[in-house]
C-alpha cells in the first residue's frame, strides 16, 4: 500500500509540474469564469442560464477529458520511454500496482479539479441569479423549467407490425372486393415483401399530420400519485413537412389533452374526455414547452395519459413531429442541486472511463501513438453516434432496412466503443431534465465495467509482460 500511495503521490506531483497540464488548467479557469461573458443566449434569463450550464460546464468537462487523456498517456508512456520505469520495476512492486497507481493519480487530480469546477460554476450561477434583475415571471419559468429536475416520458411507440399487418389485410380484402388478382399477394414471399414495404411506409410517415387531421400520443409509466398542484410540462418541436429550414415558420394548430376520471354517477366507470386548447400559432423547428392545462389527477390516470395535436394550418401541406423531438411529458422529481450533483457524478464516471482507456493504451504504446489511438477511439465513438443518430427516422427505419454502410458501421462501433458524448449530460441540466440513478448505473455498468474495464485489463496484462527495456529511448 505504501508503494501504491507513493506512485499516486508521484503522479500527482508530476501532473502539477506538467506544462501542458498547466495550460489546460488555465483553459479550465477561463471556461468557468470568462466563457459566460462571451456567450449570448436568446436574451431571456432562462436562455442565459441554459447556455451557461450547457457550455461552461460542458467545456470544463471537455478540458478535463483532454487533460486526463494527455496526463494518463504521458505519465505512463514517458516513464517507459525515459527508462524511469526501470528504477521502479526493479524494486519490489508489481507492475500492475505501478499502472494502477498512475491511473489513480491521474484520476484523483482530475476529480479534484472537477469538484473545483463544479463548485465554482454552482456558486457563480447562484451569485448571478441572486444579483440579476429578473422578473417574477422569468424567475418562475427558470425555477420550473431549468433549475429543477424533471423526469422525461416518451410516448408509447405504435405497434408498427400490427399496423402493417392490418393495412396489408385491408389491402388484400380491398383487392378481393374489387375482384383483382394482385400477383404480389398470391404467395407468402410476396405478402412478406408487401408487409415490409407497408411497414417502412408507416414508419417513414409516422409523425406526419395532414391538414385538419390529428395525431394522438399515448404515455405510460407516469407517476400515479401526483398532487393536483404538481405541474406537468409538454415539450414538443413541430416541423413543416420534413425539416428543410427554408420551410420553417409558424403554423396553426390545436393541442388536445385527455382528461380521464372515474364517473361518479355511474358504477365507477373510467371515462376519458378530450380537453382541447384554443387554436393558436406555434413556432416551428424550435423546442417549445408548455404547461399541461389540466389538474394532474385528471390528466394522469393509472400512470397513463394522452396528448393529441390537430393540424389547422392551411398554408402547408403536412406538419411533422420527429420521433426524437417530442412530444414528451416532464414531471418534476427532485431539486436542481440533487440533479447537479448527479450530473457531476456522470462526469466523474466519464473521467474514470477515459483515463482508464488512455492508461490501457499508454501501457502498451509510445506517447504519440497512445494519444493518437485514444483520440481515434473517441473520435470513432463520436462519429459512430453521429452516423446512427443523424440519419432521418433513425432507429427503427434504418435498423430495419440497413440501407447504409455508415449505419451498419456506426451500429457496430457503438456496441464496441464508448461514445464520449455519453458522459456529457450538461444538456440535461440545461433543460431541467432528471439525470436518473438508473441512467447513471447503466452508464457505469455498460461503459465503465463492460467496455472500458476489459480494455484496461488487456492493457495491464500487456504492461506486466512487456520487456520494458526494449522501448526506452535512453539506455
Amino acid at each position: 500500500m505504501t508503494a501504491f500511495l507513493a506512485i499516486v503521490k508521484l503522479t500527482i506531483r508530476s501532473a502539477v509540474r506538467s506544462h501542458i497540464f498547466r495550460l489546460l488548467l488555465i483553459l479550465l479557469l477561463l471556461s468557468i469564469f470568462l466563457l459566460p461573458f462571451t456567450l449570448m443566449g436568446d436574451g431571456t434569463p432562462k436562455g442565459e442560464v441554459q447556455i451557461f450550464l450547457q457550455y461552461c460546464l460542458g467545456f470544463a468537462e471537455f478540458i478535463l477529458c483532454l487533460s486526463s487523456v494527455w496526463l494518463a498517456c504521458s505519465e505512463i508512456s514517458t516513464d517507459v520511454e525515459n527508462a524511469q520505469i526501470h528504477m521502479i520495476v526493479v524494486k519490489p512492486v508489481r507492475r500492475a500496482v505501478v499502472l494502477l497507481g498512475k491511473y489513480a493519480g491521474v484520476v484523483l487530480i482530475h476529480l479534484f479539479l472537477l469538484l473545483i469546477a463544479a463548485v465554482a460554476v454552482y456558486v457563480f450561477l447562484s451569485f448571478r441569479l441572486s444579483t440579476s434583475d429578473i422578473s417574477e415571471q422569468d424567475r418562475t419559468m427558470l425555477q420550473e423549467q431549468v433549475l429543477t429536475a424533471r423526469a422525461l416520458y416518451r410516448p408509447v411507440r405504435p405497434d408498427f407490425n400490427a399496423m402493417a399487418q392490418e393495412e396489408l389485410d385491408r389491402r388484400i380484402a380491398e383487392a378481393k372486393g374489387h375482384g383483382q388478382d394482385v400477383v404480389q399477394y398470391r404467395d407468402d414471399l410476396g405478402r412478406q415483401e408487401a408487409f415490409r414495404e407497408i411497414r417502412k411506409e408507416l414508419i417513414a410517415t409516422y409523425g406526419l399530420i395532414s391538414e385538419n387531421e390529428s395525431l394522438f400520443w399515448q404515455f405510460e409509466g407516469l407517476p400515479k400519485h401526483l398532487d393536483d398542484d404538481d405541474v406537468i410540462f409538454l415539450r414538443y418541436t413541430i416541423y413543416v413537412n420534413r425539416y428543410y429550414i427554408q420551410d420553417q415558420n409558424s403554423v396553426r394548430g390545436q393541442w388536445a389533452f385527455a382528461a380521464t376520471y372515474v364517473r361518479s354517477d355511474d358504477d365507477g366507470n373510467v371515462v376519458t374526455d378530450l380537453v382541447a386548447m384554443p387554436e393558436d400559432d406555434y413556432l416551428t423547428a424550435a423546442q417549445n414547452e408548455m404547461v399541461v392545462p389540466l389538474r394532474t389527477s385528471y390528466f394522469v390516470y393509472d400512470g397513463r395519459a394522452e396528448v393529441g395535436f390537430l393540424n389547422k394550418d392551411t398554408k402547408t401541406s403536412e406538419l411533422n413531429f420527429e420521433e426524437g423531438r417530442g412530444p414528451f411529458l416532464l414531471v418534476r422529481e427532485t431539486g436542481f442541486f440533487s440533479n447537479y450533483c448527479r450530473a457531476i457524478l456522470v462526469m466523474a464516471i466519464g473521467i474514470l472511463s477515459i483515463t482508464l482507456l488512455a492508461s490501457a493504451v499508454a501501457a502498451c504504446m509510445s506517447l504519440p501513438i497512445a494519444i493518437f489511438a485514444t483520440a481515434a477511439y473517441m473520435l470513432v465513438g463520436a462519429l459512430a453516434n453521429y452516423m446512427v443518430t443523424s440519419l432521418p427516422n433513425v432507429t427503427e427505419f434504418q435498423a430495419e432496412t440497413k440501407v447504409t454502410f455508415g449505419y451498419r458501421f456506426g451500429d457496430l462501433m457503438l456496441n464496441l466503443i464508448v461514445p464520449l458524448q455519453d458522459f456529457f449530460v450538461t444538456g440535461y441540466l440545461a433543460n431541467g431534465e432528471l439525470v436518473s440513478f438508473p441512467f447513471i448505473g447503466l452508464l457505469f455498468a455498460k461503459d465503465f465495467i463492460l467496455r472500458m474495464l476489459p480494455v484496461f485489463l488487456l492493457g495491464a496484462w500487456i504492461y506486466t509482460r512487456r520487456e520494458l527495456a526494449l522501448v526506452s529511448k535512453r539506455g
Binding site: A3, L10, A83, H86, M87, V89, K91, P92, E467, G475
Partner: protein, 410 residues
C-alpha cells in the same frame, strides 16, 4: 588457454549461488519478429554470495543486456537465468536487489530527499525508517547540503550519487552497479570503490560493469569479459592478471652502480637480456585525492557535491561512528569458528609472506652496501633523505600488507 578462460569459475564453491546463467541467450527481433541481433549468445556463469564480479566488454558486447535480464527488464530468448534461485521477474526477490543504472533516470522535479523517500516507499518502509535512511544516505553520498534541491538541477556527478544512494536504500544483499564511477570526480570514484569494498566485507554480492578497467581491477574478485555476446574470459583477478613469466622487485631508489650490479646479476639468470628498470609512480587518482584532501584541510568551499560522509548507519548495521571499524567487527561477529580459523591462517600466511619479502629486501640492501665501500661518504645529504623517505614508504606498504587479510599484495 583461451578456451580455459571461458569456462565458468567457481571462486567460492562453498557459498550459495546468487546468480546462475546457463546457456543464456538474448536475440533482439524486429517488428516482424525476424532476428535482428544476438546480443547475448549462449553464456554460462555463476555469481556466488559475497563475490564482487566485474562484467567487462566493449560497447555492444552484451553487458547491459545481461544486466537487464538479471533485473527482469529484458527476458532471455534461450537458456536459464536465476537470481537467488528464482526468476529475475520474481517481485519478492527484488527486496534483496539494489540497482544503479548506467544513467540515473530520476524525476527531475523531486528533491534529493523526495527522490530517496519515493524509492524507499517502494520497499514499504515506514515513514520514520525512510526519513532515517534518506538522511543517512544523503550524508553518506555527500549531498546532505542539497537535501531540498530538485535533482533536475544536479550535475551528472550529483545525480550519480543520488542514484547510488537509491540503490542502497534497501541495504541490498545483491547489488548491480552499471558504470558506477561514470560521471564521478576522482573523490567520488574513490568513495564508490571504498563502498564496494565495504559491501564485500559485509558479505554482499556485487556485479559491476565498467569501462574504467582500473576501477574494476581495484574492487573485483573476479571478472567476466564479454565480446560479441560471448564470454571471452572468466576468472579470478589474480589468475587472469598475474604475468607468471615475469618478476618485479620494488626497492627504494638505488645508486647507478648498484643498479649496474643488479643488472649483471639479473643477466646471469636472464641471458636474452629482456630486462627494464624504471621508477614506480603513484596513480593519478592517488595524486588527485591527496591534493583535494590537502585543500579540504584548508577549508576551501565547493558548490557541487562534497565528498561523502560516514557510511549510513543502517548499512553498517551499528550505530557507532567509525563505520569501517564497525564493519570489521560485524564481519568478525558473523564468522563461524571455521571461518575465523581460516582467516587466522590467511593472516599468518600474509605475515610470513611479508616477513619473507622484508628479509629479501634486507639481504638485497646488505649485499648492495657490502659491494659499495664508499657509499656513506659519497651520498649527499639530500639523497640520504630521499632514501629515508622511500624506506618509510616501503615500511608503510609493508604495514598495509600485514593489515590486508589476504596478504597477497606486493
Amino acid at each position: 588457454m583461451a578456451e580455459a578462460l571461458k569456462q565458468p569459475v567457481q571462486s567460492a564453491p562453498d557459498r550459495p549461488v546468487v546468480v546462475s546463467a546457463v546457456g543464456l541467450t538474448k536475440v533482439f527481433r524486429d517488428f516482424w519478429n525476424r532476428p535482428k541481433a544476438k546480443a547475448v549468445n549462449d553464456i554460462d556463469f555463476e555469481v556466488r554470495e559475497g563475490e564482487v564480479v566485474g562484467l567487462l566488454g566493449p560497447n555492444g558486447s552484451g553487458k547491459s543486456t545481461t544486466v537487464k535480464m538479471l533485473l527482469g527488464l529484458l527476458y532471455p530468448t534461450g537458456g536459464r537465468l536465476t537470481v537467488f534461485g528464482k526468476s529475475p521477474r520474481d517481485v519478492e526477490n527484488k527486496k534483496l536487489i539494489g540497482y544503479l543504472p548506467e544513467e540515473t533516470y530520476l524525476y527531475k522535479y523531486l528533491t534529493a530527499f523526495e527522490t530517496l523517500d519515493f524509492f524507499a516507499s517502494l520497499f514499504g518502509l515506514s515513514k520514520e525508517e525512510r526519513t532515517r535512511r534518506c538522511d543517512q544516505l544523503l550524508n553518506m553520498v555527500g549531498l546532505a547540503h542539497a537535501r531540498n534541491r530538485p535533482v533536475g538541477e544536479f550535475s551528472k556527478g550529483m545525480a550519480r550519487r543520488i542514484g547510488l544512494a537509491q540503490a542502497m536504500i534497501n541495504d541490498p544483499a545483491f547489488l548491480i552497479l552499471d558504470e558506477p564511477t561514470s560521471g564521478l570526480d576522482p573523490l567520488g570514484c574513490r568513495e564508490v570503490k571504498d563502498l564496494i569494498k565495504l559491501l564485500k566485507k559485509r558479505g554482499k554480492t556485487v556485479i559491476v560493469t565498467s569501462h574504467l578497467l582500473s576501477d574494476v581491477e581495484e574492487v573485483c574478485d573476479r571478472i567476466i569479459v564479454l565480446y560479441g555476446g560471448r564470454i571471452r574470459a572468466n576468472g579470478g583477478m589474480e589468475d587472469l592478471l598475474t604475468i607468471r613469466t615475469n618478476d618485479t622487485i620494488t626497492v627504494p631508489r638505488l645508486p647507478e652502480d648498484a643498479l649496474a650490479r643488479i643488472r649483471e646479476i639479473v643477466r646471469e639468470s636472464v641471458p636474452d637480456g629482456e630486462m627494464s628498470v624504471r621508477h614506480p609512480h603513484m596513480s593519478l587518482e592517488d595524486f588527485f585525492v591527496d591534493i583535494v584532501n590537502e585543500a579540504k584541510k584548508e577549508s576551501l568551499e565547493t558548490s557541487g557535491s562534497r565528498s561523502g560522509g560516514a557510511i549510513a548507519e543502517y548499512l553498517t548495521g551499528d550505530k557507532e561512528k567509525d563505520a569501517k571499524a564497525v564493519l570489521d567487527s560485524l564481519t568478525r561477529e558473523e564468522e563461524t569458528p571455521a571461518q575465523t580459523l581460516e582467516r587466522k591462517m590467511e593472516a599468518d600466511a600474509a605475515k610470513a609472506a611479508a616477513d619473507a619479502a622484508k628479509r629479501k629486501q634486507d639481504e638485497l640492501f646488505a649485499s648492495l652496501q657490502a659491494s659499495d665501500p664508499v657509499s656513506g661518504e659519497e651520498k649527499s645529504r639530500q639523497e640520504r633523505e630521499e632514501i629515508e623517505a622511500k624506506m618509510s614508504e616501503a615500511n608503510r606498504k609493508l604495514k598495509d600488507l600485514l593489515k590486508s587479510p589476504g596478504g597477497k599484495k606486493d
